[in-house]
Symmetry: C2
Subunit: 150 residues, 2 copies
């Protein structure tokens, strides 16, 4: 029974999130997802959606067996409780595999760390979705063709 942990903010779900979770799930038999707390998202703008909604939407996705919110003060605590065999990193998550592996070892956690590749295909990422909304719905809508005709 191989237990996998994936982590992330999962703000405004899109196929890149789904691909990361599907690929993570394929590495084992059971996928736990730790969803970042609102208060802990500091390396990028605050999430659009509150943590409870982000959690609820992640939990509703087919590859996800269990989803939970992260710990406010100790990111390794839920990982220690779950006891995963593998922890996956998204293609744009800022940890290095080796750095995270070492930090886990420092906490007595022997999980392997696997980097999942980026979504292979055209993608509306969260930031592109936000950019698109600002460009098409905002007050300073640029002149130009309105339809994207894809």
């Amino acid at each position: 029974m191989i237990r996998v942990v994936a982590t992330g903010t999962f703000d405004i779900l899109h196929p890149g999130h789904l691909y990361y979770l599907e690929e993570s799930r394929r590495l084992g038999d059971e996928l736990y997802v730790i969803v970042a707390r609102d208060a802990n998202v500091k390396h990028k703008p605050r999430p659009i959606l509150p943590e409870d909604q982000r959690l609820r939407m992640v939990r509703a996705l087919k590859p996800v067996d269990h989803a939970l919110l992260g710990d406010l003060h100790d990111m390794f605590r839920p990982i220690a409780e779950i006891g995963p065999d593998i922890i996956t990193l998204g293609f744009n998550q800022h940890f290095s595999e080796e750095g995270l592996r070492q930090k886990l070892l420092d906490r007595g956690l022997g999980a392997d760390v696997v980097r999942i590749s980026g979504y292979p295909g055209p993608l509306a990422s969260s930031s592109k979705i936000i950019e698109h909304i600002l460009n098409t719905r905002g007050p300073t809508r640029p002149a130009g063709p309105a339809g994207e005709g894809e």
Copy 2:
């Protein structure tokens, strides 16, 4: 075997969509979801996400057994092919139950039509999500030429 059909645009998934799909699924044994084509969304602003992405995300939700894109010219065609016992309407979908039931009968389709109530709880709907993005990310953007390269 009770077959249920739900329909919608499902642009930027949120718990209101999920609730509609969960409640629709509970009415039967199998849930088909017809996702609106980009070209057919005319009663509100064009979707932010292209139809293929909206389809992919709806298909990934646990209550959804089957998801497909709508027909470009005849909204009743996929319904006739699926042959549902029940068609559900979201709380804000603009058809009346009786009106839709009659139109289905005109096409020889005897499905019942059930209105699903609105999501009971605080909710970031698509329009609230968009408004929130415009309010929090719009004004703080540095002034400059609009539409940076994608």
